[in-house]
């Protein structure tokens, strides 16, 4: 009697204890297969049904392989992945930031894909070169890219605002941009009503994006040394500071920005800004939430040390990879291939076209949806043609904090531009040296 009831109680306790471990996932109940892949991604919002459709089509084309399609929030992505790898239970395939690659590749926590690519005849030439470059570390390919345009920094602007201010063409240089932003900004000198342009709001890593547009790459190709404390760096910070002053200083600008949000609450859609620098995803946000907005796109302006043929931001973009210790690496490769290289069916090409985003695949025009090419495609692809890939550092997250602190030191008047650059450069270089000492 006692033993039986004890056993039941223990089972009940164990079941209760396991409840919180359940993940939020979608699995096709009709799929029958010997292998079930665990697949993690961060395609939220209106992309969830698209991803479900894409995974279902993969299952149809790959009998015997089922996919547990798990949507995870972006914010905790590293925590979740590191915890899963540490526990020896990683997903088979996961979406992955290219800016996170160096650490995972250096510790061989993910699988190089070169042998799989060679075996299946996947040539790197099927991708745009700048997209594929972001997948490399120590001469190996660690992930395949999707979506494209990770380094894009596109200037989206309200054409009506520019016309009202008598501005006939979009500024090409920083000096022109400062003049245009001043003309578009509305306020009484201390209280902003509308921001012409916010240089700190550029997608990715703002300072690095502007430095890139000023003709300077911040880190060496071998990712071992950084260079920001020079003429190009000073010009970049001077430009950002001047733009902040046009917006009545950093405090008022940040306070103003509290009014905006994402998607339909975006500042461009709300009419709070006239020009916004953002990624290619802005297109589907505008399509979904701003039918009447008269907008256009242009490349972000270039600095005095830069040139008209080099723009772009600095972000790194995304891709798909297979963690070490994945339960089914061979089948996982089939899914990676489907998600990143497949131009037929509901593969990579279809998924990106549904969102009207740039595709890393040469063969696929991401702006062609249901046979119709988007009317802004040509101008967006024109910006893409000027895109210049900026490598990311192995210590990028901490480097970003240091760069943000550098900007605040200058904007709040606590440091000179030269001192702020020198200090940030030294701090980041010390981090890099420490990284390579350990992982080199």
């Amino acid at each position: 009697m006692f033993r039986k009831s004890t056993l039941l109680l223990l089972v009940a306790v164990m079941l209760l204890a396991m409840l919180p471990l359940s993940a939020v996932s979608a699995q096709n109940p009709d799929c029958e297969g010997d292998v079930t892949l665990t697949y993690w991604h961060h395609w939220g919002g209106n992309r969830i049904p698209l991803m479900e459709e894409q995974v279902a089509d993969f299952e149809n084309h790959n009998p015997g392989i089922c996919v547990d399609n798990v949507f995870l929030p972006w914010d905790n992505r590293l925590q979740n992945l590191l915890a899963a790898i540490a526990a020896g239970n990683p997903p088979d395939v996961t979406m992955f930031g290219r800016h996170d690659l160096p650490f995972f590749a250096a510790t061989e926590s993910i699988i190089p894909l070169d042998d799989y690519m060679a075996a299946d005849g996947i040539d790197s030439a099927i991708f745009h070169p700048s997209e594929f470059a972001g997948t490399q570390f120590n001469g190996k390919t660690w992930l395949l890219p999707l979506p494209g345009g990770g380094a894009f920094a596109i200037a989206w602007y309200n054409a009506d605002h520019l016309a009202e201010a008598g501005i006939e063409s979009f500024p090409e240089t920083w000096d022109e941009m400062l003049a245009v932003a001043e003309a578009l900004t509305i306020g009484d000198g201390s209280f902003l009503e509308r921001v012409g342009f916010n240089a700190n709001g550029v997608t990715g890593f703002p300072f690095l994006a502007w430095l890139n547009a000023n003709g300077q790459t911040w880190i060496s190709d071998d990712l071992r040394s950084i260079t920001i404390n020079n003429e190009a760096g000073i010009e970049t910070l001077e430009f950002m500071q001047a733009m902040t002053e046009i917006n009545y200083g950093i405090e008022e600008l940040n306070a103003f920005w509290e009014m905006s949000g994402e998607f339909d609450q975006g500042p461009l859609i709300q009419g709070l800004v006239s020009i916004e620098s953002n990624g290619s995803w802005t297109l589907f946000q505008l399509e979904d939430h701003a039918e009447t907005l008269n907008y256009d796109v242009a490349p972000i302006p270039y600095g005095p040390s830069g040139s008209a043929d080099r723009r772009g931001g600095a972000h790194g973009g995304w891709g798909y990879m297979i963690p070490k210790n994945a339960a089914h690496p061979d089948e996982a490769w089939q899914l990676v291939k489907w998600l990143t290289t497949e131009v037929d069916g509901k593969g990579a090409c279809w998924f990106i076209q549904q969102q009207q985003r740039p595709s890393p695949l040469v063969e696929c025009n991401g702006y062609e949806k249901d046979g119709v090419v988007h009317h802004r495609a040509e101008s967006i692809l024109g910006v893409a043609a000027l895109d210049y890939l900026v490598p990311v550092a192995p210590v990028q997250p901490e480097a970003n904090q240091i760069l943000n602190r550098m900007l605040e030191d200058v904007f709040f008047g606590d440091s000179s531009i030269e001192d702020a650059l020198a200090s940030a450069e030294a701090e980041i270089q010390a981090l890099l040296d420490s990284f390579w000492e350990e992982y080199g």
């Binding site: 006692f2 306790v13 790898i85 540490a86 600008l253 940040n254 306070a255 009014m259 210590v395 901490e398």
Partner: protein, 321 residues
């Protein structure tokens, strides 16, 4: 509550220990079931408290990036924290400011509310519920609400300031006001402190007040000479709980400012979290060292309060314990 806890402890001390072999079969069976029922708690404490506690101490002497085995580095992290981590000092100072401000706010406001809600007013239950309710709202939802309340452009608080002729404040954009914004937000949890104070107030016998009235004491004299001295065990408990909680402030700051502006809201646990989960490579060893320093600081504060409590905490029917 504090007095009841003390009484239970004394009763336990005086009880004779019973050996297992002396128990009857029925008592043994009951004991086994009892153990079985608390087993999940014991497992939980071992797995999720004691094991991480010991593990983090050992990890604090290692370099550990999660994906590779830890490497022993001795006291390197502790030396770095004290000599070469400017954010350690900054975040610790911010945390001290938050602890001091929020504990004072919660104790004073909680006590005042408890006094008010210990009187015979209409809809007493409703008032008590209303003041306690914010404490049970998930912190993420609270953070979103407070972002609206403290919005520099269209926030409720700035509208009130404007209505009385004061200038608007850029709560989360101005380094001088950002931490104050979180102190204002800390009033959200005053309901918890209030409930504990209420329980303490209701434990004060009415005869003491009657005696004081006969002696001619007015309301303020009764408060100063009867209520506050007899509430010191409850104040003591509330101070301890709030200090320990305030030192670990994290979630609302992580959600609302991430430590900005100018690191004015970067608190100690946020700094620790960044090293563990935001940076690459993850610095679990360094974070563990930070965690142990925080533990020692909280321990020291607690020890000082416990040690000095003999001077200012008074229990009914006895001397300071």
């Amino acid at each position: 509550m504090a007095q009841a806890f003390g009484a239970q402890l004394s009763a336990l001390r005086g009880r004779r220990r019973t050996r297992w072999r002396d128990l009857s079969p029925m008592r043994k069976r009951e004991a086994k079931f009892g153990l079985l029922f608390i087993l999940p708690w014991i497992i939980g404490v071992l797995l999720f408290a004691l094991f991480p506690f010991v593990a983090s101490f050992l990890l604090s002497f290692t370099k550990y990036n999660i994906v590779a085995p830890p490497k022993w580095v001795g006291l390197e992290h502790y030396a770095h924290i004290f000599t070469d981590d400017p954010l350690f000092v900054k975040s610790l100072w911010n945390t001290f400011v938050y602890v001091a401000g929020s504990v004072i706010i919660r104790i004073v406001l909680g006590f005042a509310l408890a006094l008010l809600l210990n009187t015979k007013v209409r809809f007493l239950g409703l008032w008590r519920t209303l003041f306690y309710l914010p404490s049970v709202v998930p912190i993420v939802a609270l953070s979103v609400i407070w972002l609206y309340v403290l919005n520099a452009r269209a926030g409720l608080l700035n509208s009130l300031l404007y209505a009385i002729g004061l200038p608007r404040v850029r709560w989360f954009a101005d380094p001088d006001f950002a931490m104050l914004a979180f102190l204002i937000m800390s009033t959200t949890w005053v309901g918890v402190t209030m409930v504990i104070f209420l329980a303490g107030l209701q434990g004060i016998p009415e005869e003491y007040y009657d005696a004081a009235k006969i002696d001619g004491a007015n309301v303020f004299q009764r408060l100063l000479r009867v209520t506050i001295p007899l509430m010191t065990p409850t104040i003591y408990l509330n101070v301890l709980i709030n200090i320990i909680g305030a030192f670990q402030v994290f979630t609302q700051i992580f959600i609302m400012t991430g430590g900005a502006p100018r690191d004015a809201t970067r608190t100690y646990v946020l700094h620790l979290f960044d090293h563990a989960f935001q940076y690459l490579p993850p610095q679990m060893g360094y974070s563990s060292a930070l965690a142990w320093i925080l533990f020692m600081i909280i321990f020291a504060f607690t020890a000082v309060i416990v040690a000095t409590s003999q001077r200012w905490v008074f229990y009914q029917g006895g001397e300071a314990d």
